[in-house]
């Protein structure tokens, strides 16, 4: 292992090492709150490491061309690190009952280690390892609360996750059969043969399936960001010749489906978790629209905006007592927790895509890219879906201003969650008014 190799895997290594430490500490009964702060610090260290080390000078990949160290891997590793830090801070600030145990911190960090590996993967096998390391702990995290109650939710999640991984792996095997290579560099030379197309299709399906089944909880943010980023790299590598059109069509269809379904389904939804899930789907739809126009910077921009919104929304979500909160449970929040509602209001503006939030610019950027790629119909659809989503998400705010239920208990004070939500909302507004730095950073995202 050379220095260059080590530099390429520095973020995954930092995450894995801190995960091991967190696991050991939780075994000796160190509190979950302390471990949460430790994990957040480790994530920030990973972000710092990724940014300080930076992309390799000649753009060469490490480990014999299997792990990339370029603008994209640095940016997405940093994004993953920030999201993980945000989610751990929120968890550490949650009330004791909702905080979970210390071993969850270790699982989150393992998941992050897989995420940073997946975003840098330049080889199908590394990608698979990364995705597995990313999703298995995430499914374990999702399954935990169910396991106590003995319902089948845990089993279902693990089985679904395993199925998606199996589908992706099958696709990768077909790709290997078609090209005789697993490195991305070799895949790009493929011809338009059925085996190859089937391989691409199954790999895409497996990865996207991971996104779809990711439940709306904190660990899903990391899964979403990392899977989408890994997918963007795979697309960039294989987008050549006749296959390019297939990719474009696939992404355009995905984007249209995501935006339309999320826009329509959210209208009648009253459960918060589902509203957040639909919002996520719509946001990823904009990323897919940008990817359809093969504009990686626009996709990275939309993904960053999604990350900020997701961290903020889950911080708000952590303040609600119910496991499955409905809109009614938000009533009275405006009077009890005005700062939280201020943050929520800005996040909702971002979800709808209204200025002055960065959500507006992300939407606009994706639309511009789509028009450039002759996908005007996608813009029309996305634009009209915005109206539907406005009607859906404004109800979240409406609910906050309602008078509280008689039997309602005031939400916990949750200073840390409120602060996290405010920071996310502030980031969203600042990036919407002064988008220069973020646009510059995403402009450097190249494969």
């Amino acid at each position: 292992m050379t220095d260059a190799d080590l530099a390429a895997v520095a973020p995954p290594l930092i995450f894995a090492a801190s995960a091991v430490v967190a696991g050991l500490l939780s075994a000796v009964r160190v509190g979950a709150r302390v471990l949460g702060w430790f994990g957040a610090a480790a994530s920030i260290a990973a972000v710092a490491a990724a940014v300080v080390i930076g992309p390799s000078a000649d753009g060469a990949a490490a480990f014999g061309g299997t792990v990339a160290r370029d603008g994209a891997s640095v940016f997405f590793a940093a994004l993953v690190g920030i999201v993980v830090a945000g989610s751990l801070v929120v968890a550490a600030g949650a009330p004791r009952s909702a905080r979970g145990s210390g071993s969850e911190v270790a699982l989150v960090l393992f998941s992050a280690s897989g995420a940073t590996l997946a975003v840098a993967a330049a080889d199908l096998l590394v990608l698979f390892v990364g995705i597995a390391l990313l999703t298995v702990p995430a499914h374990a995290l999702t399954a935990r609360p169910h396991a106590h109650r003995g319902d089948d939710g845990a089993v279902r999640h693990v089985l679904l996750g395993a199925t998606s991984s199996a589908v992706a792996l099958y696709g990768m095997a077909l790709l290997y059969a078609a090209t005789g290579e697993t490195a991305y560099a070799g895949l790009g030379r493929a011809t338009h043969n059925p085996l190859y197309l089937a391989g691409i299709g199954l790999t895409l399906a497996g990865l996207v399936f991971h996104l779809v089944i990711a439940p709306a909880n904190r660990s899903s943010m990391v899964v979403n960001v990392a899977t989408v980023a890994a997918l963007l790299r795979l697309v960039a590598a294989t987008r050549s010749g006749e296959v390019a059109v297939d990719w474009e069509v696939s992404f355009a269809a995905l984007a249209a489906l995501a935006v339309a379904v999320a826009g329509l389904a959210a209208i009648a939804e009253r459960r918060m978790n589902w509203l957040i899930a639909y919002a996520t789907i719509a946001q990823l739809g904009y990323v897919a629209a940008a990817a359809a126009g093969s504009a990686v910077p626009a996709a990275a921009f939309a993904l960053s905006v999604y990350a900020a919104q997701a961290v903020g929304l889950f911080a708000v979500r952590a303040m609600l007592r119910h496991e499955e909160p409905a809109l009614e449970d938000l009533r009275g929040l405006a009077r009890q927790r005005p700062l939280l509602v201020l943050a929520l209001g800005i996040l909702v503006l971002g979800l709808i895509g209204l200025p002055p939030t960065a959500g507006f610019l992300a939407r606009l950027y994706a639309f511009e890219v789509a028009v450039r790629a002759q996908l005007l119909w996608l813009v029309v659809l996305g634009s009209l879906a915005t109206v539907a989503s406005a009607a859906s998400y404004v109800r979240i705010l409406l609910a906050c201003f309602g008078s509280p239920r008689l039997d309602a208990v005031a939400p916990p004070r949750g200073r840390i969650s409120t602060a996290t939500a405010l920071v996310a909302a502030l980031a969203l507004v600042v990036a919407g008014i002064v988008p220069g730095p973020l646009l510059e950073a995403t402009g450097a995202v190249r494969f």
């Binding site: 950027y365 029309v380 201003f401 646009l439």
Partner: protein
């Protein structure tokens, strides 16, 4: 520099209101309005201001720039905006949560100014859309009964229009590789594309104006918004749509607009008459003002669509007049409601108890229906004259509006103030007079010397019709 000033002044005030520091938020908001009006006024009667637009990089990869600049039309509307916002702030005494209210209020003022000074389509759209946020929040939280349904309805209608506008902007800008309004107006499109894009743009502008038949949100919004917000909504926010049609649709799609104007003129004329007829049937002062406004606004839009020099000038004077008069009407309606307990027309017979209120109301109504000597007259005359030269039939229809508006105006006066005398009611207080008096002076001034603003339009508005031909 004026373009930057009118943006920065309300933003500073918004921040000062939001931060917990001393001082009265209301006084600050009034000051922001007056400063804006003064800045724009200074620019109007000197030759500073119409210098070439300033441009800064904003979101490079998106092609968006912070390009701002003013011309005669926007300067005139900025003056109006300053006056209307100052009056509205002065009239919002005793609101709940004053700091939040006035912070949103000043943000609204900043976004309106942004719409009027933006010289880049993305910036224009950002301000156009951002305007919705403080506006709907103010209506939502400080409005009257049924405010949430009204706010939601307004939001959905306006956002549908804006969604179409965004499609148009992105399609046009990406095709032309620029979003600068100046560069785009030099870009030559095929006539068919011009018509389609003009329709997409007009969708947003027609809803916000509102042009008949896109006025469904109007009466409920006017009736449930807090009165100061209704003043702003009718007084200046509707004018941003007039401005956008004149300053964006016509220069960008000259040939497309020529194809569309016959239909638009028809809609505007019918809408104007429709609003006037409905106004005669109202029994609530706020919906009365809403339909009277619909009539006036569509008449102003008629002046823009006719697109002769007279029509443009008439539209500019008419916009200023309508903004001032509608503010007066809303203020007087509030005074009236304070005396009789509701916004209904009430039992009538107030004239002997409240002679000053009666005369002020009478004056406002006369100005609204365009009696010579008030600001309503010159704009209306110019628009009618321009319409007659374009199409005598439509001109006749528009003249009918004047007759019907006399009927609704005098009908309101008779129902509210005359008839059997009642014991209730008192006259307007000095505080109320102090807010209305400046408006009255302005209305008379424009009525007596319309050339003061008319010349401004003449001098600064480039002949859009030349380009169209």
């Amino acid at each position: 520099m004026i373009a930057a000033d009118v943006l920065v002044i309300p933003l500073i005030v918004a921040m000062a209101c939001a931060l917990p520091i001393g001082g009265s938020a209301r006084q600050l908001a009034v000051l922001a309005g007056l400063l804006t009006a003064a800045t724009a006024g200074a620019a109007a009667w000197s030759d500073i201001g119409t210098a070439s637009p300033q441009s800064y990089v904003w979101a490079g990869p998106l092609g968006a720039q912070l390009a701002i600049g003013v011309d005669g039309f926007s300067i005139a509307l900025l003056m109006l905006s300053g006056v209307v916002f100052a009056v509205g702030a002065a009239a919002s005494g005793g609101v709940r949560m004053p700091r939040a209210y006035f912070a949103l209020w000043s943000l609204l003022q900043a976004t309106v100014a942004g719409v009027l000074v933006a010289r880049d389509l993305i910036l224009f759209f950002a301000c156009w859309e951002a305007l919705l946020v403080p506006l709907s929040l103010l209506m939502w939280h400080w409005g009257g009964a049924g405010r949430r349904a009204a706010a939601l309805r307004l939001l959905v209608y306006w956002m549908t229009g804006s969604a179409l506008l965004l499609i148009g902007i992105v399609a046009f800008g990406v095709g032309a590789r620029t979003f600068s309004i100046a560069d785009l107006s030099a870009y030559r499109l095929a006539e068919g594309s011009q018509v389609i894009l003009a329709l997409l743009f007009l969708a947003a502008f027609a809803v916000r104006l509102p042009l008949f038949p896109f006025h469904v949100w109007l009466s409920r919004a006017y009736a449930t918004a807090p009165v100061p917000l209704a003043i702003v909504l009718a007084g200046i926010v509707s004018k941003t749509a007039i401005y956008a049609i004149a300053r964006i649709c016509f220069p960008l799609f000259p040939r497309g607009m020529v194809d569309l104007t016959p239909y638009l003129i028809g809609l505007a004329a019918v809408g104007s008459l429709y609003g006037a007829v409905l106004a005669t049937r109202q029994r609530d002062t706020r919906t009365f003002i809403a339909y009277a406004s619909l009539s006036q606004l569509d008449l102003i839009a008629l002046g823009v669509f006719v697109s002769t020099a007279d029509g443009q000038q008439g539209a500019l004077i008419g916009s200023l007049s309508h903004g001032l008069v509608v503010a007066m009407l809303f203020l007087l309606a509030t005074s009236l409601a304070r005396r009789i307990g509701s916004f209904d027309f009430g039992p009538g017979g107030l004239a002997p108890r409240a002679p000053i209120l009666t005369s002020l109301f009478g004056f406002a109504i006369l100005a609204a229906i365009g009696v010579p000597g008030t600001s309503g007259a010159p704009g209306e005359l110019l628009i009618l004259a321009a319409t007659f030269t374009r199409s005598p039939a439509i001109g006749l229809l528009a003249t009918l509006v004047v007759v019907v508006s006399a009927a609704y105006g005098l009908g309101l006066l008779r129902a509210v103030f005359f008839g059997p005398s009642t014991e209730r009611g008192s006259d307007v207080s000095w505080r109320e007079r102090a807010v209305i008096l400046p408006l009255l002076v302005l209305v008379v001034a424009i009525g007596v010397v319309p050339r003061a603003v008319g010349d401004l339009a003449d001098r600064r508005i480039p002949a859009l019709t030349e380009r169209a031909r």
